[in-house]
Amino acid sequence: MLLRVLQSGSLWFVLSLLPLLRAVLLLWQGELVNPVEFITRSSGTWALVFLLLTLAITPLRQISGWSGWLQYRRMLGLYAFFYAVLHFGIYLWLDQLFDWAAIVRDIIERPFITVGMLALLLLIPLAMTSTKAMMRRLKRRWGQLHRLIYPIAILAVVHFWWLVKKDLSEPMIYAAVLTLLLGWRCRAWLLGFTGRLKQQNARAHNPHRGQAG
C-alpha cells in the first residue's frame, strides 16, 4: 500500500507544488520583509533543484536497478520549467516592470542575466517536446535534443554563482551536486568506451575467442 502511494505520480506531483504553496502562504501572512526578493530567489532555487532532480533519475535508475524512476523524469523536468518561468515572470514584472528596453539591456550587459536567460530559452524546446506524441515523432533525435539538459543545468548553476555578492557556499553546493551527476555520466561513458576498446583488443588478439564470444 505504502509502496503504491510512494510510486504514484500524483503524490510527487503534489509534493512538487509545496514550494509554491509555501511561498504563497508566506506572502499571505505578510511576515516577509522583502517579499519580492524572497519569491525571486525561491522560484530560482526550486527551478535549479528540479533540474538537478531530473538529472538524478538516470544515476538512480542505474544504481538501484529499478527502471520505475523513469516515470517521474518528465514531471520533474516540467516542474523545473514551471519554476523557471515563474522566476522569469517575477523578474519581468516586479523587477523590470515590463520595461523592455531595460530588459534587453540587462540581458546583453549583465552576464549572469545572459546565462540565466539562455538556460530558460533552451528549456523551452524541451518542454514543448515533452509529450509522448513528440517523443514518437522525433524518435532518435528526441534523445539528442534532450541532452540539452546538460548545458542548461550548467548555465543555471553559473547564473546563481555569478549573482552572489561574496558568500559562494550556497552555489557551491549546487555546483558540487551537478558535478557528481555529470561525473556519473562521464564515468559510465568512459567505462563503456574502455569496455568497447577491450572487446576490440581482445578480438584483435584472439580472433577465435572473438568469434566465439
Binding site: V33, N34, L94, L97, R110, K165, K166
Partner: protein, 304 residues
C-alpha cells in the same frame, strides 16, 4: 521633493542655552543609565533634527530583521538570530593616529560629547533595496574634534570588533576581517555623517551595529560600518573591506549613484522595503544638495 535643505543654523544654536544644557545633561544621564541596564529596549531619545528626511520610516521589525552584518552570518536573517552573543558593555573605541589628543573613549563618554539627535535617514543598500531609518546619534565631527586632528589627518579609517567568540560569522573567511571602512576627512566632518547609538528612540539593537556605528546616508549601506572599536586619523586613503574583496565592484567612495551601474547589476532603481514596485534611485541618495559640492570636479564614474 522630500529633501529638506539644511540652513546654516545648528539646532544647538536655536535652543536657548540653559534649556539646551539641561537637556544635554538629562539625555546623557538617561542614555547612560539605559545603556548600563543592558536592556535591548532601553530608551535613548534624541532631539529632532533639521537633517531628518520627512519620509515615513520603515517599521522597527523591518529595520531589525533584515540586515547585512557578515560577522553574524551572510543571510539577511542571520544577524537578528545570532547577534545576541555580542557584548556591548563595557565598550571602548580607540581614536588614534594624526591627532593632538588621541584617546580611548568608553561608550558612555561618547554619548556625552554632544546632545543626542534623532536623524531620520534614507539608507540605500548596494544590493538594490532601501529603507528609511530613525537613527539616534551624534555627529561624527563632535568625536573627531575632541581628539584635535592634526593637519596631516586627511582620511579616517574605521574598524569593527574582531572577536570570533562573540561573532560566529568570523569563522568564515568570506571577508578579510576585521571589517574596515574609511572616509575622506571632509566627508567625515560633514554634518550629515553621524555615529548612531540608537534606533527608534531606543538603544541600538545588536544586529544593527551596537553599540556604536557609522551612518553616512549618501553612500551605499556597507560604508556605514558597525560595532566600531577603532578610529584612526591618517594621511593616506585607508583600505576598505569590500574594496579589498572586489575592487572592480566596490570603490572607496561608493556614493549612491544611479548613473554608475555595479558591474553585475543596475543601480538605477531600488526597492524600498515595504513597497511593491521599484522607485528611481536618486544621486547621492537624495542628499545631493548637501554633499555634491564635496565631489566637485571629480569623475564619479572613475572614483566610484
Amino acid at each position: 521633493m522630500l529633501i529638506r535643505r539644511p540652513g546654516d543654523i545648528l539646532p544647538s544654536e536655536i535652543t536657548p542655552k540653559d534649556v539646551f544644557l539641561n537637556r544635554r545633561q538629562f539625555m546623557a544621564a538617561a542614555a547612560g543609565s539605559a545603556l548600563l541596564a543592558g536592556e535591548a529596549a532601553a530608551a535613548l531619545k534624541g532631539i529632532p533634527s533639521r537633517y531628518s528626511a520627512s519620509e515615513q520610516p520603515n517599521s522597527r521589525k523591518e529595520i531589525t530583521s533584515y540586515n547585512n552584518f557578515y560577522e553574524f552570518g551572510t543571510s539577511k536573517e542571520d544577524p537578528a538570530r545570532n547577534a545576541g552573543s555580542l557584548k556591548t558593555r563595557p565598550w571602548q573605541v580607540v581614536v588614534e593616529g594624526e591627532a593632538g589628543k588621541p584617546k580611548t573613549f568608553g561608550i558612555e563618554e561618547i554619548l556625552k560629547l554632544a546632545p543626542l539627535e534623532e536623524r531620520i535617514y534614507r539608507l540605500r543598500c548596494v544590493e538594490g533595496w532601501s529603507m528609511v531609518i530613525p537613527w539616534v546619534g551624534i555627529p561624527l565631527a563632535s568625536l573627531l574634534k575632541a581628539v584635535q586632528p592634526t593637519g596631516n589627518a586627511k582620511f579616517v579609517a574605521f574598524e569593527t570588533l574582531n572577536d570570533p567568540k562573540q561573532m560566529p560569522g568570523l569563522a568564515s573567511r568570506v571577508l578579510d576581517w576585521p571589517y574596515r571602512e574609511g572616509l575622506r576627512m571632509d566627508e567625515a566632518l560633514h554634518p550629515l555623517t553621524i555615529l548612531a547609538v540608537g534606533l527608534y528612540g531606543e538603544v541600538l539593537p545588536n544586529q544593527n551595529g551596537a553599540p556604536i556605528r557609522l551612518v553616512v546616508p549618501w553612500k551605499y549601506g556597507f560604508k556605514s560600518i558597525k560595532s566600531i572599536v577603532r578610529i584612526r586619523l591618517q594621511a593616506q586613503q585607508p583600505a576598505t573591506s569590500w574594496n579589498l574583496a572586489a575592487p572592480n565592484e566596490y570603490g572607496f567612495y561608493s556614493n549612491v549613484n544611479p548613473a554608475v551601474a555595479h558591474p553585475r547589476w543596475s543601480q538605477a532603481t531600488e526597492r524600498r522595503i515595504g513597497e511593491f514596485l521599484k522607485r528611481k534611485t536618486l544621486p547621492f541618495n537624495g542628499y545631493g544638495d548637501q554633499v555634491a559640492r564635496l565631489y566637485q570636479g571629480m569623475d564619479l564614474a572613475k572614483f566610484f
